[in-house]
Every structure is written in C-alpha cells, then in structure tokens.
Amino acid sequence: MEGRGQHEEDEERRHLGGSGLILRRDAAGSGGGGGGGGDSDPSSHQWPTVDGPLGLSEEESVAYARRFFLWGFALLPLLWAVNCFYFWPVLRSRPSSSPSSFSRIRPYVLRSAIGFLVFAVLLSSWVLIFLIGGEHLFGPVWQDLVMYNLADRLGLAGWV
C-alpha cells in the first residue's frame, strides 16, 4: 500500500511536473504541513478524473468539463453522462474537503448530471408510454412510428 502511495506520488509529481504545477504544489505541501485535507498532501492527491494519474490535469479538466457540458446541449445527453462519469471523483468529493481546483470543475459536472437525469426521465417516460400504451393510446399512428415498420417501409434494413 505504501509502495503504491509512493508510486502515485511519483506519478503525480511527474505528471504535474509536465504541466508546471509541481513547484507550487510542493511548496503548498511543505508549507501547509499537511493541513487542509487531501489537497496539500501529495501522497493522497486527488485526481479530478476517473482515470486517475492517466487522466487529465486540472486545468485541462476545467476546459474539458465545460466543453462536454456545452456540447451536450446539441441533443447529446450521453455526453453529459460521460462528463459525470469522467469527473466522478469531483462529483463524489464533498465541497469542503476537495481541492480548490475541483470547485471550478464541479458546477459543470453538477449541471451535466442534472441535465442527464432530466433527459433520462423524459426519454424513459416517453419510451414507456410508447411501449405500454401501444395502439390503444396512439391509434394507427403507433404503427407508423414504430421502428420495425418504418424500416420495412423505407427498406432501411436491406443494405448491409
């Protein structure tokens, strides 16, 4: 376990070294003396992405979180879901104990989560109504809307 911690710390250092953050973080770590939760202690550094040290650095995370959030509005709720999955550590950490950088990522991820939930509720209610209501509810329109009939009519399934 400690080997792993050291490994993480090393990786983090390498990773952060590339993005130029290492000096500040180390200074904060040594200066802060381990106070303030996991932020200043490099061995328990929290990565914003679910990939951990292989994922994004924190600056990039903010950019990506925002980009995923905005693109999700183009009828792409799956992107919101991916956003939540990707930044799961941000979503899961409590605001008090998380590093300051998470607080910039958090609003986007939260809004993506809410958007995805709303969309999922709407979509699943529509699907259930369609499935269960069937012809009783819709009348002959049901036959026109259902996919397999549409595929037959338009000959969509033939070209593979």
Binding site: D51, L54, V146, M147, Y148, A157, W159, V160
Partner: protein, 428 residues
C-alpha cells in the same frame, strides 16, 4: 533501499495482468460477434447483402458449382481485396509522408462515424426487427445519434475516459467484423488467409507499406493516425517503478491494416496502426501517462530522469535495467508497449480474429470454441516471438493460420468424433 524480495513473482503478476488486459477485449469482441452472428444469421439471407453482391462467387449460387469454381472465385475476390488494401496503405504512407495529418485524422473520424452510425444503425435495426422490439423512430434516431457522435469523439477527437474509448474501439471492431462475416463462405476463408499472408509481407519485407509507415513515424517521432486499442498500463510493482527504455527505439508493429473495399463506396478504409515503441524524452512523460490512443511516441520514459536524478532513481536504475532485459518489450504485432508501458493492439487484429470466430459460429459452436482457443494461443505465441525477436512482427499470421487449421480439422475430424460419442452417451 532494499530490493523487494517478492519482486520476482510480481514480475509475472504484472506480465499476466498486461496480457489479460489485451486478451479480455479481444475475447469480448469475439463474443459479441458470435452473439450477433448466431442471432442474426438465421434471419438474413446470404444473397441480399451488399457484401455478397460485391464479392459474388459461385458458392452463393447453386451448390452444384464445382469446388474448383468456388475456390477460384474466392481467391479472385480475396486478391482484389488485398490489392485494394495494399493500394490504400501505400496511399496512407504517401499522405503521411506528405504530412497531411489533419486530412488523415478527419478522414479517420469520418470513417468511424460512418461505421458507427450507418453500420451500427443497420445492425441495431436488424436486431430490433429480429426481436420485434417496439421502439419508436424518434427514440431510435436520438439514441443512434448520441451513440455515434460520442463514439467519434471518444475515438478520435477529445480526451475521454479510457474505458469509454476502449469500449467504442471494441464496438467498432465488432461492427466491421460482423459486416465481414456477411461475405460468402469461401471468400471469407480465402480472405483471412490472404490477409494473414499480406500482413506477414507488409510488416516484414523491407518494401512493405506497413513497415515504411512505422519507420516514417518513428523517424519523425510522430504518431500515426489510426485506430489502435491501448490497454491500461499496469501499475509498476512497488519498488520497481516504471519500466524504462532509454534511448531505445523498438517497434512493435501490428498488422491489420484493413481497408474496406473501395468499391462499396460508403465504407471508408479503417486503418490500424501498429504499435511502435520508441523512447521519449523525459519531458514528454506526462503525455505518455495520459495513455491516449494517439500518444506522441510510445515509449516508456525514464521517470527517474525526469525527476532529476534523485537518489531514488539511482537506486532504481539497476532494477529497471534488469527488468528491461528480462521482460522484453512485449511488442507483438499490434501489441507493443505504449509510452506509459501499456500494450497496444491494432483494431485490424480484433476485426480479423472476430471474423474468423464469427464465421466458425455460422457452422456450429464447437468450431467456435476450438477457433477461440487457437486464436488466443496464437496471440500468446506472437507475444512470445515478439519478446524473443524484439522487432516489429505481424500479429495476424500465427493466430489466423492456427484458427483456420483448427477450424477445418474440427469440421472434418473432431465433429464426427464428438457427435458419435455424444449420441452413444459416451462422455469424457
């Protein structure tokens, strides 16, 4: 710092873990193709497919056609395919040489979009029709749109969670492999054998396009725009840190450049890239750690060097060196070590393995099991050869040859035996 006494078993652990991380997605891809083939093949007739139309051979017509006719038709079709693949690969090499990287990348993104949206949509539609699942058109198109756009983004454009990226690559492999299984039978087998031979030639011969491509990429220290599955790097054992390659350029290339025949028009070539191994400077270490599908260079970097030669690194260096020598690079054709030490396998290998198993599934499940074991064994052998030879080796030949051989043996010999035993209630 004392050397960890259990570093020896952990070497095997991590090696096993890495192999599992490559064998698992290959197996998942094959499983999905087998499932698709077994549910859908009963409902589609072999003549209605576009693939059959492009590669019609006498076997699809009356069964009275002689063996020779079928064979010659199949060979001709596969030769045409190989020729187009070669041309396209040379074209790719040319474009890469002329540094048209943006064009290549956008073309790859476009082709993945076509595969995911059109082929994926087709197959989803076939499934929906087969199971008569009452989904409506609006939901279907919305889901398909989401699926394909996020897929293109995951594979080619942005940084996405590694699992999402890997999942989409496997899905693309499944879709293309399913499409290939729609070819007529003799053509499929001839194609598989021809692709294995082509792979062997293209990677090992000095004039081979794949070899040229790899060498170009290495010399320029660039990445080839292609679909490559990269496994997550295994955490180094405590005390061992990362594997380091210092100033070493070893390339593992994998085969599998597939280009769908251009005659079909709506399919675009999907080229896989071989994995290269290269050394990187320590400054690129963070890139290497991101484990993206398009790393700058696949090399394991000396972390110790980047850390500025701390005392820890000095101590670690001899450990790493021995590991380096003992492990080999694990580059197998298609499998190679990424800059973060992860294994990469080109998507073409996924596709052709799955085509073989899918075609075996069209006969019976017994052949599926036999071919699956043969392919995994071939993969292991290729890994071994790679560790032994330490240069780019093609991943297709060993597995495909073993798989084809085992398929025909099973059909001819094993099946009779097993059926006789089972019908006489003799279990073993």
């Amino acid at each position: 710092m004392a050397q960890d006494p259990d570093s020896t078993p952990s070497l095997l652990d991590s090696l096993g873990e890495e192999i599992i991380r490559i064998v698992a997605p290959v197996s998942a891809c094959m499983l999905l193709v087998v499932l698709l083939v077994s549910t859908l093949s009963s409902s589609t007739s072999p003549l209605s497919s576009l693939a059959a139309a492009a590669y019609s051979d006498p076997s699809s017509s009356s069964s009275a056609a002689s063996i020779w006719d079928k064979l010659s038709g199949a060979l001709l079709s596969s030769l045409v395919f190989i020729a187009s693949v070669t041309l396209l690969t040379f074209l790719l090499v040319l474009l890469f040489y002329l540094r048209c990287t943006r064009f290549l990348k956008s073309y790859m993104a476009f082709s993945s979009f076509v595969v995911l949206a059109f082929l994926g949509g087709e197959i989803l539609l076939l499934l929906v029709t087969h199971f008569s699942f009452p989904i409506d058109a609006i939901t279907f198109s919305l889901l398909l749109l989401n699926f394909s756009v996020v897929g293109v983004m995951a594979v080619f454009m942005t940084k996405m969670p590694i699992s999402v990226n890997q999942g989409y690559l496997v899905i693309i492999g499944v879709l293309v492999a399913y499409w290939f299984t729609l070819l007529p039978e003799w053509t499929t087998w001839a194609l598989l054998v021809a692709m294995a031979l082509y792979d062997l030639a293209a990677v090992l011969l000095p004039g081979g396009p794949l070899r040229l491509l790899v060498e170009l990429a290495i010399s320029r220290d660039e990445d080839i725009p292609a679909l490559v599955y990269e496994a997550r790097p295994v955490e180094p054992r405590p005390g061992a840190r990362r594997r380091l390659w210092r100033e070493r350029r070893d390339y593992g290339t994998n085969s599998g450049s597939n280009a769908n025949p251009s005659s079909l028009g709506n399919m675009s070539p999907v080229t896989d890239e071989r994995r290269d191994l290269g050394t990187n400077s320590s400054l690129n270490s963070n890139n290497s750690m991101t484990g993206e599908a398009l790393p700058e260079t696949r090399l394991v970097i000396s972390e110790q060097e980047s850390a500025g030669g701390s005392s820890r690194s000095e101590l670690r260096a001899p450990l790493v060196q021995t590991q380096l020598d003992s492990r080999g690079e694990g580059e197998i054709e298609g499998i190679g070590l990424g800059s973060s030490g992860a294994i990469k396998l080109g998507l073409g290998d996924f596709i052709f393995y799955s085509v073989l198993v899918g075609r075996a599934a069209m006969y019976d499940f017994m052949t599926v099991y036999a071919c699956y074991l043969a392919i995994i064994a071939g993969l292991g052998i290729t890994l071994l050869l790679l560790a032994f030879y330490r240069k780019a080796l093609p991943a297709l030949p060993v597995s495909i040859m073993l798989g084809v051989f085992v398929y025909f043996l099973t059909r001819v010999l094993l099946e009779v035996f097993v059926v006789q035993c089972s019908t006489n209630l003799l279990m073993f």
